[in-house]
């Protein structure tokens, strides 16, 4: 019944009827134009560029799929992609576990909830440039806060060259990424927790479920929608990450922190291999799409089996 009144374009004449037929498109036109030109058009126009050998200055030369062949045979591609995968696993596990844990603590009737929430969310409003530069110093091997702290505790064996050691650098960047975002994911989990009705816990308790069982059988399943949101955001972030490695390590040492977005940028704007860089973008695009689809499939199929 209410559907009848909803889209009501009540006509009051032939002209206005024709206008009102046209007008919805006029309303969306400005937004769609900007989005179409600056987001959708490059997604399509780059396809043709990926088939070129082009330095951005001289006339481009059509070379077919050679760029893609080179990408597939280049050992660098796999190494860089593995860095993204490593980054994704590290940040997703870190962010999800930590933020869910903190959200559960904060969900109780505690004094100072607003204070905690506001403080933990703080890095979200900070720029990655500020965060990256600040952490470059905190990680400084001689005078940085982290090593100084570890030495003070007598944990000298944990002292590292956080950004200079190829075996550690990527994990250091992962730590910074987690630091910047766990408050954000915590707030989303908190919203999810608040939407779980208390009766479910009461029923579980009457059935004699322990706190841990309640978490496994009530909290986690009920959190599935926000879990999907949080995991998706962090996975997408990990495959698109650029700012942190660009500012803190420039992909080094020895490509240990080189990730796809950085690789694409360096090939394009340091080596002026526009065609190759464009082709790389599509490799990333395909991978990101596949990851998103697989993830969506995995996370929604878990729902059906319950």
């Amino acid at each position: 019944m209410p559907a009848a009144q909803k889209p009501g374009n009540r006509p009051s004449g032939a002209l206005s009827r024709r206008l009102s037929k046209l007008s919805p498109y006029l309303w969306i036109l400005p937004a769609i134009t900007v989005y179409g030109i600056f987001k959708l058009y490059p997604l399509v126009s780059g396809l043709q560029m990926s088939l070129l050998r082009w330095d951005g200055i001289e006339a481009p030369r059509y070379i077919g799929l050679r760029n893609f062949e080179k990408i597939l045979s280049d050992p660098m591609t796999g190494a860089v992609l593995m860095n993204n995968v490593h980054y994704a696993v590290g940040t997703v596990v870190g962010k999800i576990v930590l933020s869910l844990f903190l959200a559960i603590l904060l969900h109780q009737a505690l004094k100072g909830r607003t204070f905690y929430r506001t403080s933990l969310f703080l890095p979200v409003v900070m720029s990655f440039v500020v965060v990256g530069v600040l952490w470059s110093w905190l990680f400084n091997p001689q005078f940085g806060l982290i090593n100084s702290f570890l030495r003070g505790l007598g944990l000298d064996f944990l002292v590292q060259d956080w950004l200079g050691d190829a075996a550690v650098a990527l994990n250091s960047l992962i730590l910074v990424d987690i630091w910047k975002w766990y408050g954000f994911h915590m707030v989303i989990f908190l919203a999810g927790l608040q939407s779980i009705p208390d009766e479910l816990y009461e029923a579980a308790r009457i059935d004699g479920a322990s706190v841990w069982q309640q978490f496994l059988h009530v909290t986690l399943p009920m959190l599935q929608p926000v879990m999907i949101v949080n995991v998706t955001i962090s996975v997408m972030g990990a495959f698109n990450v650029f700012d942190i490695p660009f500012i803190m390590t420039a992909g080094g040492p020895a490509n240990a922190t080189n990730v796809m977005a950085l690789h694409i940028y360096i090939r394009g704007f340091k080596f002026y291999r526009f065609g190759f860089s464009a082709a790389l973008s599509y490799v990333l695009l395909v991978i990101v799409t596949l990851v998103a689809l697989i993830q969506l499939k995995l996370m929604t199929s878990g729902d059906n089996t319950d």
Partner: protein
């Protein structure tokens, strides 16, 4: 898991219930620990901005002995922060204006009118908004449109990334506004557009605030787009200025770097602390739907 629940499980113990107290204590200590991990580096950055280069090495944890206010003067001069702040302001406010104007009108159409392809258009946006843009065609497009190295180009580049999310936020909000309001305005002789501008928009403060905060913070902190599109020193926003300055002077004058970082961060933190509820809602609104 709550304190009350824990106490119910141990009804035999007489006297004070220690367990809930311990649980509360545990919760607070963990939360305080992670709050300190977040807040302390930021506080430390502000403290370090008042230290001398020597103190940064000899006095890592302590307060600055004699606050070196001149760090701020040096930072302001050398990094040309005044200009950078102005640029960031222009770009961020410009992006907010573009996004709010375009996305509110479009969001209203998607919420209140039915027309062909509306679902298709929304679906295309959902599936492409997260996709990483290939930067070469993106850059070439801006070169061909002569939009590199200009405020307008940067504003459009940033706005185009936020528009879909802003449309969804506006659409959800306008759906919640009763249709009678619009009908009443139209009976009073308002055109559809006038009804939108005079009746609907004035009561849409929450949606406008959400979208504005989301866009402003994103634009203010945006680094990649200016890196790609801005060439001249005069147009560099804060983020790019800081990074260029860091590359030039970072290794030598960390205290000045910290002053630069503080100037860039403190205004945003102050606004955030006062409007924290709005900020948190705005910045998570893309993710939480009811």
């Amino acid at each position: 898991m709550s304190a009350a629940r824990s106490s119910m499980r141990q009804p035999t113990k007489p006297g004070i219930h220690w367990r809930p107290i311990l649980v509360t204590l545990f919760n607070h200590s963990i939360l305080i620990l992670f709050t300190v991990i977040i807040v302390y580096p930021v506080l430390w950055m502000i403290l370090a901005s008042f230290k001398t280069p020597g103190e940064l090495i000899s006095n890592i944890w302590g307060l600055p002995a004699d606050p070196a206010y001149q760090n701020y003067a040096v930072a302001w001069e050398k990094a040309r922060l005044g200009r950078a702040l102005l640029n960031s302001g222009i770009i961020s406010i410009g992006a907010v204006l573009v996004v709010v104007c375009l996305a509110s009108i479009a969001g209203y159409a998607f919420a209140k009118f039915s027309f062909r392809f509306s679902t298709v258009i929304l679906l295309v946006m959902v599936f492409t908004m997260q996709a990483p843009v290939p930067i070469i065609p993106f850059y070439v497009l801006f070169v061909r449109l002569k939009l590199t190295d200009s405020y307008l180009g940067l504003i459009l580049a940033i706005a185009s990334g936020t528009i879909p999310l802003a449309i969804f936020i506006f659409q959800a909000y306008f759906r919640s506004i009763p249709g009678e309001l619009r009908e009443a305005a139209k009976i009073d002789g308002c055109s559809e557009l006038a009804a939108f501008l005079r009746v609907v928009m004035p009561i849409s403060g929450p949606a406008v605030a959400t979208v504005s905060i989301l866009t402003f913070v994103g634009a203010w902190n945006e680094y990649f787009m200016p890196l790609l599109l801005i060439r001249s020193d005069e147009l560099r926003p804060l983020t790019l200025t800081i990074q260029v300055f860091f590359l030039q002077f970072g290794r030598a004058e960390w205290n000045v770097i910290f002053a630069t970082l503080s100037i860039a961060t403190i205004p945003m933190i102050v606004v955030y602390v006062f409007l924290q509820r709005w900020f948190i809602r705005g910045l998570t609104s893309g993710s939480i739907k009811g």
